[in-house]
């Protein structure tokens, strides 16, 4: 029986010739990831398991990014516990302030994940690395602990949905608009348990940053993972960031997909998700006047250089409405520096935005921009559940960096086409 990309990667990592959907397997791991919220819990479980050393000092990554720079004493203590473990166990990929970034932007940038890898992370957006042609998925803290101890994880082999992307997206239609469009179409549990596999000639028109954004939000459709077929652009990215060997997997010609969608990227309009669910989508053309109090550009979804460039293009020479607080947080130190060198940060500050050090911060309502009762934000993040960015009666509208930037200028949700 033919296999999907995901099934092939899992089969190989389980030392099996073939796997079928719903089969339980145990696969070797190339990377185990945790952050300052999930790793402390996992470390306790690791010791309960009788863990002494981690299975491989270079295949565990610990990234304090959620509440860092430490927002309070409790988060400082969690980070301390994790830091001591990292140094004690000689974990090579521990990234403290100065070197840190939001985990899902940082790992690809550091070349720690390449095509063909199997990665687990105690964070639901671990699915981001599917952009590189890897299998990666979010798990609980106990799974992370076992992964650190044994370098293995059990999986139920997923079936898959195929997304054949064709055509070229119009200006102001980014990876974010494409994935919001897809989630709006299939719903928040539309891909539950399944892989979302992206292929087709339209992929050549998507930058790596677009692909990271799309794979990042696969979990918002309930998927186990999202994965892209590897092309020249992926190869170039991996070679520029990593010295590791990588392996490309393509679906078999007779691979079985539960459903197949063909999506012409040229037909997609700039798209937003209204509160309180990522599948509550509208195109920009359907949005009436909605006044806003804050915009947030950043996160593991949209804090990469393409995103900052898109925002700068719109903000350049414009002033942010004085009633709007604009918060921009580059996802890693490297992206931050690149934005400085390209003059983007100057544009942001001159327009009246603030720029923060890399952190998850406002994305999960942690710190650095919490919303009060009744306030509205346009955010380039990935979840707009009740209370996600602050008060239970605040509202988050998910959108692309271009829409967020355009909205900052006018003080209401705005089509970037109307600004430029």
């Amino acid at each position: 029986m033919g296999m999907t990309m995901t099934q092939k990667i899992l089969a190989e990592h389980a030392n099996l010739k073939e796997v079928v959907p719903d089969q339980f397997i145990e696969a070797d791991l190339d990377m185990v990831l945790g952050n300052d919220i999930t790793a402390p819990v996992a470390i306790k479980e690791f010791f309960k398991m009788g863990g002494k050393d981690v299975f491989h000092k270079e295949k565990v990554a610990l990234v304090p990014d959620h509440f860092t720079p430490n927002k309070d004493i409790k988060s400082a203590e969690q980070c301390k516990y994790m830091r001591e473990f990292a140094y004690d166990k000689d974990i090579k990929n521990y990234f403290e302030i100065g070197e840190m970034g939001i985990e899902h932007a940082l790992l690809p940038e550091k070349g720690l994940v390449v095509a063909g890898d199997v990665v687990i992370g105690a964070d639901s957006h671990t699915c981001t690395y599917g952009a590189l042609g890897a299998f990666s998925t979010g798990v609980g803290s106990t799974d992370m602990a076992a992964g650190m101890a044994r370098g293995k994880c059990w999986f139920k082999v997923p079936s898959a949905i195929k997304f054949e992307l064709t055509g070229k997206p119009n200006k102001f239609v980014s990876g974010k608009d494409i994935i919001l469009h897809i989630i709006g179409k299939i719903g928040v549990d539309g891909a539950r348990y399944k892989s979302m596999e992206f292929m087709g000639d339209g992929i050549a028109n998507l930058s790596m940053d677009d692909r990271f954004t799309i794979a990042n939000m696969a979990i918002e459709a309930g998927a186990k993972n999202g994965i892209f077929i590897v092309d020249d652009r992926t190869r170039a990215y991996i070679q520029n960031h990593s010295t590791r060997e990588f392996k490309e997997y393509t679906p078999d010609a007779d691979a079985i997909y539960d459903e197949e969608y063909t999506i012409d990227l040229a037909t997609i309009r700039p798209t937003l998700s209204f509160p309180y669910s990522p599948d509550n989508t509208r195109t920009i053309d359907e949005v009436e006047d909605i006044e806003i109090d804050q915009i947030v550009i950043g996160s593991c979804t949209n804090g990469r250089i393409d995103d900052l460039r898109a925002a700068a293009e719109i903000l350049k020479g414009n002033k942010i409405d004085r009633k709007v607080r604009a918060i921009i947080f580059p996802a890693t130190q490297k992206i931050y520096l690149q934005a400085i060198e390209e003059g983007l940060i100057k544009i942001f500050i001159e327009a009246g935005a603030i720029v923060s050090t890399p952190t998850c911060g406002p994305c999960l309502g942690g710190h650095m921009g919490i919303l009060a009762e009744g306030e509205r934000a346009v955010a380039t993040t990935n979840r707009n559940f009740v209370g996600r960015m602050g008060h239970a009666k605040s509202e988050v509208y998910l959108a692309s960096p271009a829409i967020a930037a355009a909205s900052a200028i006018t003080g209401k949700i705005t089509n970037p086409e109307d600004i430029i």
Binding site: D22, Q23, F24, I25, E26, E45, K48, M49, G50, G51, S124, G138, V139, G140, S141, T142, D143, A145, A146, A149, R150, W154, K156, D189, R192, Y193, G222, K224
Partner: protein, 162 residues
Amino acid sequence: MKAKGKVFKYGDNVDTDVIIPARYLSTGDPKELRKHCMEDIDKDFAKNVEEGDIIVGRKNFGCGSSREHAPIAIKASGVSCVIAETFARIFYRNSFNVGLPIIESSEAAKKIEKDDELEIDFQTGEIRNLTKNEIYKGQPYPEFIQKIIENEGLVNYVKSNL
């Protein structure tokens, strides 16, 4: 490994918040958690549940947060198995990891009713409804998942395999 008990039946989308409300998450103690298990959907559950009993839900059981407290609370209540048409992904993993057996079977989830008496054979994946005299087929677990369950969770399983 077998399980036997009477059924508590629920509907679609039983989320982790009704399984164990967030207001009780300040503790991870199973004995404390069991007192509040299913409280917001079935306030008498904790009082009526007996060792070996079985929970049956419909679609997307365990959706919501990734809290491991949810399967821990169910297990601590003495529940021997949860059957549903489908489970939310992270609840599914967490259940095995904390040693709570779960079975996916749409036929079973549809036909089984409240208070039916069930017997489950985890080796074969067979669910016998003693009240209705019916048999439904779930998927048998592969060996290592059975071992995780027999070890009462991933922590002990890994311990015996390190």
